[in-house]
């Protein structure tokens, strides 16, 4: 990417390029240049021929056009049942057309496809559950994003995000040093209340390697402290790594498969270097999907598993509560109407719906938890998944999409929404900002820190 050209097929690979791109506030010039971007139709067709194989090819072909996927999509429902928001239409009118025209598509078409791939689908994969033919539109949109990224047709923030991973091995410009310094500093802040609270760095053979979301370093360092406190109180042998600590992947949302590999490689190398018994990722949905569910395949791991057993934070939490490592003071259980936003990435696409309900049984006074309808794997996306939260170009579309989640929450009567996922957390926060329905939202850690009993031996000496 030459510095004068903001929008091109080349990925962002240097800090200089990243700075130039970031200076273009909102991507104004970037999108202007995108209108002039040439489509490399030969490359496009070549890519389709070599990567669009049996599964997606068949999906495109056997879609009977019954429209049963329509009602499963929150965009369709939120946009007054606009037929152009039917999941199948979104793939047939984009990927389907590229295949039909053997890659001979123009710039306007590619921009339309970009708007569809990032502005009308969060690849929550809900529609896959409602298609009789077993067609997973979300998987096709994800594939389409890769094809569009290769041609440079990608929203500004996604291009930056993927670049961040290539340069910083994190979704934000957080260096390894900043990560360790921030974690150690914030833990120190809490040391008075929790004597001997430490952040073990690069400890080999620990039971737990903890990985995070770079946003926690930049925006919510308290979350790091809470994680340290809860591991400390549970008496866990844990560590963080000074390299490969980022679990997320905006590269996955961008469709930059090369950057996905670059990112996850760092984490797997940390696993191999430190040899922990398990890796536990923070309360983030897409991070879990990227590093634990999809990551092994990007790295060519035939068994589809990371180098060490890797679980989501909620799995560790449920286990800690179940085994009594963490004990909740019954007096402090939640006594306001509360609901939970099931994250698409680890509930529908990771099978963890029962785990979160188990945690709720410990945390919430009986009678105060109300499930959303629908819930579990049938829950609707928060409205901000798949990178949607971060893309300014589609902000109005996102806010319109929120109406489905808003109504779901209102129906529960809940005043607190548990959001053990960064994307969901952001989406519910923004939803409240837009619609002001009078709710609070929270990760689990901040609530738990105030709820768990501190063993006598761990209390500060007077």
């Amino acid at each position: 990417m030459d510095s004068g050209k903001l929008c091109s097929k080349e990925p962002v690979k240097t800090k200089e390029q990243l700075r130039t791109l970031l200076k273009d506030t909102g991507g104004k010039l970037y999108y202007k240049q995108m209108q002039e971007l040439k489509v490399d139709t030969d490359l496009l067709w070549q890519t389709i021929k070599t990567t669009l194989k049996s599964r997606i090819k068949t999906w495109l072909e056997i879609c009977s056009g019954c429209g049963m996927c329509a009602e499963s999509c929150f965009f369709y429902l939120a946009n007054d049942k606009d037929p152009k928001q039917v999941p199948s239409y979104k793939t047939q009118s984009t990927l389907g057309e590229i295949v039909k025209r053997k890659g001979k598509v123009d710039n306007a078409f590619m921009r339309f496809a970009m708007d569809t791939a990032w502005g009308k689908c969060t690849y929550c994969n809900r529609c896959a559950l409602y298609c009789p033919n077993g067609i997973d539109t979300g998987a096709m949109i994800s594939y389409l994003r890769g094809v569009l990224y290769q041609q440079g047709f990608v929203p500004w923030e996604m291009k930056i995000g993927a670049g961040m991973h290539r340069i910083y091995y994190a979704q934000m410009d957080v260096t390894d040093e900043e990560f360790i310094e921030t974690f150690e500093w914030i833990a120190e802040e809490y040391e008075e209340d929790y004597p001997n609270l430490k952040v073990p760095v690069d400890v080999k053979n620990a039971d737990i390697l903890y990985t995070i979301n770079a946003r926690e370093v930049k925006h919510y360092p308290e979350d790091l402290a809470y994680a340290a406190i809860l591991f400390h109180l549970a008496g866990e042998s844990w560590t963080v790594t000074s390299k490969g600590w980022e679990e997320t992947s905006l590269a996955m949302f961008a469709g930059d498969w090369e950057a996905c590999k670059i990112q996850v490689k760092q984490v797997y190398e940390a696993m191999e270097r430190l040899k922990p018994k398990r890796m536990i990722g923070t309360e983030c949905g897409h991070a879990h999907r990227a590093t634990v569910i999809e990551g092994p395949y990007w790295m060519g791991r035939k068994d589809g598993k990371p180098p060490v057993e890797s679980i989501h934070y909620v799995e560790w939490l449920a286990e800690a509560l179940r085994t009594g490592k963490l004990k909740i003071n019954p007096e402090k259980r939640i006594k306001t109407p509360v609901t939970i936003q099931d994250s698409c990435n680890y509930v529908r696409n990771g099978g963890l719906k029962d785990i979160t309900r188990e945690i709720i049984d410990y945390m919430v006074e009986p009678g105060y938890f109300v499930d959303m309808e629908p819930n579990g794997e049938n829950n609707f996306c928060c409205g901000g998944g798949g990178g949607f939260n971060g893309i300014g170009l589609y902000r109005d579309w996102r806010n319109k999409g929120f109406t489905i989640k808003r109504d779901q929450i209102i129906k529960t009567g809940a005043k607190l929404v548990l959001t053990p996922c960064h994307n969901c957390w952001d989406a519910i926060r923004d939803l409240e900002e837009v619609f002001k329905i009078g709710i609070n939202w929270s990760f689990l850690k901040p609530l738990l820190v105030n709820m768990v009993e501190i063993p006598e031996s761990m209390k500060p000496k007077p």
Partner: protein, 228 residues
Amino acid sequence: MYKFLTGFMFWVSISIFFIGLSVRFILYFKGLDWRLDRVAYKSYPFYAIKGALKSILKWIIPFLTHGWRKQSCMTIAFFTFHIGAVIVPFFGLAHNVFIRSKIGVSFFPVTLNQITTDVLSWLVIIGAVMLTTRRLILPQAKILTKSSDYFILFLSVAPFITGLCARYEVGNYLFWLYLHIICGEALLIAAPFTKLSHIVLFFASRAQLGMDYGIKRGGMKSKKGINW
């Protein structure tokens, strides 16, 4: 004419149907790529088979999935059409008599009596009318429907219409019989090359997604697996 249709053309069409669909079925699975699809198909045979079977079985029973329950009209239309469309060609009395004359044995030991065959055939026609109407009036189906989809629906229902006309001897029996055979053979020939390939690819695609959820997306995490 009868001899040509039930002799040469019968063997040609039935061969294209079975060989063509078998090839498509085999090629589908041969074409699955664990790297591109990001599913470790071969590493966990138990979860793969469990996921695939569950994904198929739940969707071939009316109202068993969230999808079927959510859209009851579609479910009724779908099964009204498909039950007869699958059963009658194999179990219909006249077909079994014909098959026995061709290969010495009938396909299946059970044959439907005439009334059941008639009722199921009528249901296919009613189902086809419902499915067509749905496509004409529902915007979410209309936007996805091409003229070829109507043609496929027509091709699927034509053997049943002509079959019933022959059965009731409406006008010239032989005319309807010949037309029935021609329509049936056209359907058999078209199947591997059109969306009718879903006759086998439905099972293939459902199996793939079932394996995907069974192996990778939570199938090993919860006992129940994905709640279709």
